[in-house]
């Protein structure tokens, strides 16, 4: 008889978060696209405009959540894809922590940029 799989890493939390972030992203991404490509055309973007938007706390918070949700969603997706491809053992552990570190760096850098974009004007 088949041996039972012993690794009890339940993936339901990540699965659920992937869906929850997706729902969130649908809204924000659409908003983001509309705003920066249709309302303001991308080629018209200047830091001044960006700063104006970023200085509004609501917008700032939205963008930071957007970043965090997007990063989680994307990186988790990539990790799942690799696991499905059959990555096991040490390579998998490396990939896992590698992805976590990269995500944290991305988020940190993103927030730093966003902060810079406020030009210290955040009220």
């Amino acid at each position: 008889m088949a041996e039972h799989y012993t690794s009890f890493s339940r993936d339901d939390t990540r699965w659920l978060l992937q869906r929850v972030t997706a729902v969130f992203l649908v809204g924000v991404l659409a908003f983001h696209f509309m705003l920066l490509h249709f309302v303001h055309h991308a080629y018209e973007i200047t830091l001044a405009g960006t700063t104006a938007r970023m200085s509004q706390p609501g917008y700032f918070i939205t963008m930071v959540s957007f970043l965090i949700a997007g990063t989680f969603h994307g990186v988790n997706g990539v990790y799942n894809a690799l696991v499905n491809q059959g990555i096991e053992g040490t390579p998998r552990t490396i990939v896992k922590y590698g992805l976590i570190i990269v995500s944290l760096l991305l988020i940190a850098q993103g927030i730093r940029v966003a902060w810079a974009m406020t030009g210290g004007q955040l009220i």
Binding site: V26, F33, L47, A81, R112, V113
Partner: protein
């Protein structure tokens, strides 16, 4: 046991002509997902110029926008994002157990809609590029 024949990788990838709608949806969703996360990284990298100051930021952005190729890539990005969103919504419905019978139709609908939106957005994206 006597040896048996393993048809190997051909089995996994060689049969793409026989893929069904659900498989294509999966392939495209993966592909678009990877493009998007890749883009997110570059996007942040580009935006990081904001730390260097306004001229750097404006210069980089406008410099990029001046390149025709970037404009086309933006259309591509939009298409990728739109497909990922539409199919993502389709998948969310599947997760909720809704409309499973129409899973192939909704995939085709996502494809068509993506195409339509991408085409419709061309004027906006290419506006001012020439």
């Amino acid at each position: 046991m006597s040896q048996s024949y393993d048809r190997g990788l051909v089995e996994n990838f060689g049969r793409w002509t026989e893929f069904s709608a659900g498989m294509w949806a999966w392939v495209f969703h993966k592909f678009t997902g990877w493009v998007l996360i890749g883009y997110l990284f570059t996007h942040i990298a580009v935006l990081s110029t904001a730390i260097e100051g306004a001229s750097m930021y404006n210069g980089t952005l406008q410099g990029l926008e001046a390149l025709l190729i970037v404009r086309f890539m933006e259309v591509g990005l939009l298409a990728v994002a739109v497909f990922h969103i539409l199919n993502g919504v389709r998948l969310l419905f599947v997760d909720l157990g809704l409309g499973l019978d129409a899973q192939d139709k909704s995939f085709y609908a996502s494809l068509i809609l993506t195409g339509a939106i991408a085409v419709a957005s061309i004027p906006t994206f290419l506006g001012g590029a020439f």
